[in-house]
């Protein structure tokens, strides 16, 4: 990295930075020389158990000599010199210690990209926010993106280059690669194969194309286990060409999802932003609320958000889609004749509703559905006239969008035949994720020279000769293309902590451009993009904004071809695969925040399970926690069963990403490896599943034990408290009676707001300060995507406690998302409710604290003074909302140096024996109040954004001054469906909820 590259770091929220300080992470940076790095890696061996040859004595003396020589240069000789965090001797221009700066960057996210603005404290990225200008983010992010900041500082990341476990240098690798490429150049690269994850970087794609130009017989294969192969082939069937559907849920009044979980995954943020716009009920319900129908085998957060949810086996959705298509008048729909009581009525009603909303409806098919279902969806959208209105067709964001599975299959054949002599694997983990029948690891062993480039010494790294440790995206220069084609820059926030290399470095080496840095390469690419004329100004604008304005791809006009549907497959007991809601395909397995993140609908942590419907479980004699053997296609795995209300009968779902063989200290052998049952043909669902109870038990750690609001497992009725907890009603009823009681049939006076009715208290009322902070959470918008939970964890330095402590009920999340099942267990309605601290005006916690560690602030916050807390836990007992969290042990990691860099310096790291809780991000409030004070003005509405609010893709959370009548939060509190949780306790919660309003189809659910 050169001086100039570091100088290119651009601020967004703050004034642009010129001449920023030069970041350096080791003396090797300053002094140069590979031997020192080698010594360091050996001195701090994170992978010591894979060492093959211990250093010789002479080697040791040599290295010691080098280090001693360096020790003479400066006193510092540790990997993270303490000096760098001392006060600047000479303050770099525009930096003010203690004042964060914000830089725009991009996270490549599977086959897309999400634009970010990252908070940086003295050169250390600490918090990730969305970039409002980026189409994949629109200001919000998802849970996984939030957690990548922990991934950056993960000390289990690969820290060196190795050759079969021995630490080597980049030069060693370069020499080895050169030699192999030299052999290949004679054969025009016939034995060279490049295997990457999805590539969305124009620069990288350009580099790979150049490599392929030099080696014309080489081949580039892309493998992502969670890919759009089905969607691609569906588009080919429908249009004869590959197009990507870009839906706009804000424009759709009626949406049918054919097992498409469009609210989660890499596109989830963008879709949630749009979808939530049509779910928010304001002004007494005078809103054009959309209606969502979801047919799926396992409940997803999309299904939980649906007005009508139809559990069907994944393999039955085909038949259901045909019925809807037939009813909509789509031509050439075969196989829709058989009567099926479960789906006929639903299909008819859906079709009628869709037909009534031509041009304002949307049919989306899930990536797990076979290609012809995607084709059916295309045909339905065409028949409904939705194309160009609620959706457009664009080119896929991914470069090299060929079929992943076919490509990998061919590659394995070539590897087995011995045709491949040199294989470069970058940022993908096929040894773990490849379809089971391919035996990728076996084929890999037949390749002469195998090199792996990635963040971790993972399963694939183990199978390769060389491993090159990759730089994290927060350490890299690159670029990316979002789903809609928007181009953006990946800008480093910090120099590589472990001297990792980017993929650009790797391909530059192959192209003999080893001297060009990733920065040079990206600039070179963007010079083509932006033009040489006035490039510098434009480049700086792109860096500052993070995105190139108006760079989204244009709509493709695709001509629909005649449908040719295969025969409907006879359904059988099936197993479906899904990316895990927390760790996706396994790439985030080493992220403690995500492992401990309760999955939205099961609330399970640290595990994956075989989800089984209540009826099927009863038939199989299986209970939650029983270890079952799943056998399909002659392959077997064992996994703990989990009875999931809303799961389709005879369909078992298991999440990918677990059961890894090489994933650091806590993710190795955690959970069950679903990839072991996954084949090319059965990538998302395999039929003929047999489930056998092994009789063993597995303890599962769920953060929510009870999920009903009507009755306890012992049969004790609790329905009477329902309205105090969760208010749900229909839009029709709400329009008729837009008051707080719209959700109940009987309007009982007991469940009044309570406010103003019994204001008697033996204690004096708290004086009202200059501001009165409050929050409103819209239950109708919330999808339980979990982004707020991780955002809060990142913002507030919340520790990870581990599975054992979760089992003891000691999770630490300051905001949790409660989930309830309502109605029959087979087809329940699913409700979710985020619960941060309610910041009660009459707070039960405050009066019982013996040492005044939790006290009422002048602005209405229940402030928590960690230093004063002695840990009696009385406050937690007396909290009716149970939002307080206690450090039963020393949960915060006080020893891992790298993790300390990622903490928010504005928030105390709590030690053992101290209570903690949500404080509406008081550090953000203080920062805004200070800056307002300096400018001699009041804090403006919207100036303070809490971490949970900022990240929320549904904009479900609103925060502000409730005493200011014109504030957004005050306006929402005036909404008729605003209610306080357990308000009858007279706690006067400052956090209130907008009740949930659904929009059921009267044909399917006659209103009560």
């Amino acid at each position: 990295m050169t001086e100039s590259t570091a100088n290119e770091l651009q601020g967004t929220a703050e004034a642009p930075v010129r001449g920023a300080k030069r970041f350096w992470k080791s003396l090797e940076e300053v002094e140069g020389g590979e031997t020192f790095e080698q010594f360091l890696a050996r001195e701090y061996p994170s992978q010591s158990h894979v060492f093959q040859d211990p250093p010789q004595r002479r080697e040791f003396m040599k290295l010691m000599g080098a280090s001693l020589a360096l020790a003479g240069v400066t006193a510092a000789c540790t990997r993270q010199p303490k000096e760098t965090i001392y006060a600047y001797a000479k303050n770099p221009e525009t930096t003010l210690p203690g004042k964060p700066m914000y830089f725009a960057t991009t996270m490549p996210w599977a086959a897309g990209a999400i634009g970010l603005v990252v908070e940086s404290h003295e050169g250390r990225p600490t918090k990730i926010e969305g970039n409002e200008l980026h189409s994949g983010s629109l200001g919000a992010t998802d849970a996984m993106t939030q957690a990548t900041v922990l991934g950056l500082y993960d000390n289990q990341r690969s820290q060196t280059i190795t050759e079969r476990g021995t630490i080597k240098t980049w030069n060693d690798f370069a020499a080895s690669l050169k030699a192999a490429l030299g052999e290949q150049s004679a054969a025009q690269g016939a034995g060279l194969r490049i295997l990457t994850g999805a590539v969305v970087s124009p620069t990288l794609a350009g580099q790979i194309q150049q490599v392929l130009a030099v080696f014309p017989k080489a081949r580039w294969v892309v493998w992502e286990p969670v890919n759009r192969d089905n969607a691609r082939r569906g588009a080919m069937q429908a249009f004869g060409r590959d197009v990507q559907v870009l839906p706009d849920f804000a424009k759709a009044s009626v949406v049918l999802s054919l097992e498409a979980d469009f609210l989660s995954g890499p596109e989830g943020v963008r879709n949630t932003k749009a979808f939530a716009k049509r779910r928010k009920v304001r002004g007494g319900g005078v809103v054009d609320m959309n209606r969502l129908y979801v047919a799926e085998s396992a409940p997803s957060i999309t299904g939980a958000s649906a007005d009508h949810h139809l559990p069907l086996r994944s393999s039955e959705i085909d038949a259901f889609a045909r019925k809807v298509a037939r009813a909509l008048g789509v031509k050439n729909v075969t196989g829709a004749d058989g009567a099926d009581a479960r789906m006929d009525k639903f299909a008819q009603a859906v079709a009628k509703d869709l037909a009534a909303h031509k041009g304002a409806s949307l049919v989306v098919a899930g990536s797990g559905q076979p290609p012809h279902v995607h084709a059916l969806a295309h045909a339905m959208n065409a028949a409904l006239g939705n194309v160009g209105k609620t959706l457009v067709h664009v080119a896929p964001a991914e470069f090299q969008p060929a079929g992943h599975a076919e490509g990998l299959q061919q590659l394995v054949q070539e590897m087995n035949s011995g045709a491949v002599q040199l294989l470069l694997v970058s940022e993908t983990n096929p040894v773990y994720t490849a379809p089971a029948e391919l035996d990728f690891a076996g084929a890999l062993a037949k390749v002469k020279l195998r090199a792996h480039h990635g963040l971790y010494q993972d399963e694939t790294a183990m199978g390769c000769d060389w491993h090159v440790n990759a730089a994290h995206f927060l350490e890299s220069w690159s670029d990316g293309r979002a789903a809609d084609g928007t181009l953006s820059i990946v800008q480093p926030l910090i120099l590589p902590l472990y001297n990792g290399k980017t993929a650009h470095d790797l391909f530059a080496l192959m192209l003999d451009k080893g001297t060009m840095s990733a920065y040079d390469l990206v600039r070179e690419q963007w010079q083509k993009q932006l033009g040489a004329d006035g490039f510098e100004a434009k480049w700086r604008r792109v860096l500052h904004d993070g995105v190139l304005a108006n760079s989204q791809g244009s709509a493709i006009a695709a001509e629909l071809q005649n449908l040719q549907l295969p025969a409907v497959a006879a359904p059988s007991m099936e197993l479906t695969f899904t990316p895990d809601p927390s760790i996706h395909d396994g790439r985030f397995a080493l992220n403690g925040w995500l492992q401990e993140l309760p999955k939205p609908l099961t609330k399970l942590t640290w595990d994956n399970v075989a989800q089984i419907s209540p009826a099927t479980a009863e038939r199989l004699g299986v209970k939650s926690g029983d270890v079952v053997e799943l056998e399909a296609g002659g392959r077997k795995i064992t996994a703990p069963a989990w009875i999931q209300p809303g799961q389709a009968d005879d369909s078992v779902q298991i999440a990918l990403g677990f059961g890894r063989k090489r994933a650091g200290s806590f993710a190795t052998d955690l959970g069950s490896n679903a990839y072991a049952l996954r084949t090319t043909a059965g990538a998302w669902a395999v039929g003929g599943l047999s489930v056998r109870n092994t009789g063993e038990k597995h303890v599962l750690a769920s953060t929510q034990g009870h999920d009903r609001l009507d009755v306890t497992p012992e049969g004790i009725p609790i329905a009477a408290r329902r309205d105090d907890v969760l208010r749900v009603g229909t839009i029709d009823r709400f329009r008729q009676a837009p008051d707080a009681h719209y959700m109940t049939a009987e309007e009982s006076a007991r469940h009044g707001e309570g406010h103003g009715e019994h204001e008697t208290s033996i204690y004096a009322k708290h004086a009202r300060g200059e501001y009165a902070w409050g929050m409103v959470i819209d239950l109708n918008a919330c999808t339980a995507c979990n982004a707020c939970v991780v955002a809060c964890q990142s913002e507030n330095n919340i520790p990870v406690v581990g599975k054992k402590e979760i089992l003891r009920g000691r999770e630490m999340h300051w905001i949790r998302i409660d989930r309830y099942f309502d109605g029959e267990r087979e087809r329940p309605k699913i409700h979710v409710q985020p619960i941060p601290c309610m910041q009660c005006e009459n707070a039960p916690c405050e009066t019982v604290c013996p040492v005044a560690a939790t006290a009422h602030g002048p602005e209405g916050l229940n402030e928590m003074t960690y230093n004063r807390c002695v840990g009696t836990r009385y406050c937690a007992n007396n909290c009716p909302y149970k939002v307080r969290r206690f450090n039963f042990f020393l949960y915060s990691d006080y020893s891992t140096e790298s993790l300390k860099l990622g903490r928010n310096p504005d928030v105390t790291v709590r030690s053992r024996g101290v209570m903690e809780k949500c404080t509406y991000c008081v550090q953000r409030i203080n920062r805004a109040r200070l800056s307002a004070h300096k400018q001699n003005r009041k804090v403006q509405d919207g100036e303070i954004v809490t971490a949970c609010q900022q990240v929320c893709p549904a904009d479900a959370i609103t925060f502000g001054n409730v005493d200011e009548p014109t504030s957004q939060v005050a306006a929402l509190k005036r909404e008729p469906h605003n209610y306080g949780l357990l308000a009858e306790l007279n706690t006067f919660p400052r956090t209130t909820f907008l009740g949930k309003v659904t929009n059921p189809n009267p044909e399917l659910e006659p209103s009560a």
Binding site: R708, G715, P850, K882, L890
Partner: protein, 464 residues
Amino acid sequence: MSQSTHHGDPDALIGPGHTMATLTDKISGIVLTQKHPLQWFAITGIAAIFASLLGLTVLNLFFTGIGVWGPNNPVGWGFDIINFVWWIGIGHAGTLISAILLLLKQEWRTSINRSAEAMTVFAVMCAGMYPLLHTGRPWLAYWLLPIPNTMGMWPQFRSPLIWDVFAVSTYATVSMLFWYVGLIPDFAVLRDKATKKVQKVVYGMLALGWRNAARHWDRYETAYLLLAGMSTPLVLSVHTVVSFDFAAGIIPGWHTTVFPPYFVAGAIFAGFAMVLTLSIPLRIWYGVDDLITDKHLDNMAKVLLATGWIVTYGYAVEAFMCFYSGSTYEEFMLLNRLKGPYWFQYWSLLLTNCLLPQIMWIPKLRRNIWALYFVAMSVNIGMWLERYIIIVVSLHRDFLPSSWGMYAGSRWDWAMFLGTLGFFTTAFMLFVRFLPMISIAEMKALVPHKPGLTTGGRGAAAHH
């Protein structure tokens, strides 16, 4: 073993044939002799092992954190506060017997008050340990005390835990004083009877120069009476304040106005059960059934029965109010006790605290040490369960079903509980060994006097 080794008046408070001299010899002999029953060594040995376990658990707690216990998110308190309340409840009988029964001129208290007071002191020690140790940062627990400090911070006086600090520390101080003042004339007896130098010196110092002078007696009686007067409200206040820990809370099952009287009655109930638990074996091993007579047992059984009914009434009122209040949470709280996951504990509570003590209606069983011991142990367990129900079962399912959870004591919880039992037993055994377990001075008042002199307890003596 026969039910009674003495014959004659079944209601006698002292065995026949006792004179001032025999009393002195008998009671001081227990302390001054070298011969102790084998049981003493066995019990003390075992108890000391458990007392060491207490030390180990405390060390582990300090070094690791209270996570070694069972509390969790909905259930923030567990064995720590259960045992605190249980021990402090046990500590109630001492003061009740010493102070209230003294003021009410109940002569039968004299032979049991000393050991009951000792029991109180040791039980309060065990109880007092928990509020300190249960904090997350016990090294800062002194912040609960109103000590002027550079932080300029006082405790938060609205918190019932602060009231606890005052109530318990006052109670501990007064109980100790009361016990010690009562011991002074007996220390003088031991000093005079002692044959060994060490005993003479130690007991001599503890006797504070007591010479049996009339002036001494006069001041002693005044001081004792004053202390009794001071202690009497404490009997009511301590457990009332302890009950505020819960009653001032918002949790269904805690937020109950019946708690203060019901806690006080429960404490006396528990205390008498523990007095019986301790005095029955002592009576056998030391052959003092002529001093702790069947009449004593009979009376204690009656107190047990009476307070048991108050406690039962408390349960009944609690249950009634759950429905009468119309609060769905209160109603659920009761149903959850009856049918929820902790039904076994609740039904066991009703059995041990309400049902089993009813056998005390039968006069014969009130004097049968086996029946008494059985009931006493039943109440010991029942009162522990009562606190378990109040704390764990109320907290584990409160308002939001999402945050419901379960609680179970960990190994360390049990170890610490056994540790305090060991500490208590060790301390009590040492008391039996080194201090007169029955008040010599007071017992003398029960010895039949020459005709013309009043017989009676201390009340009579005060008229001198």
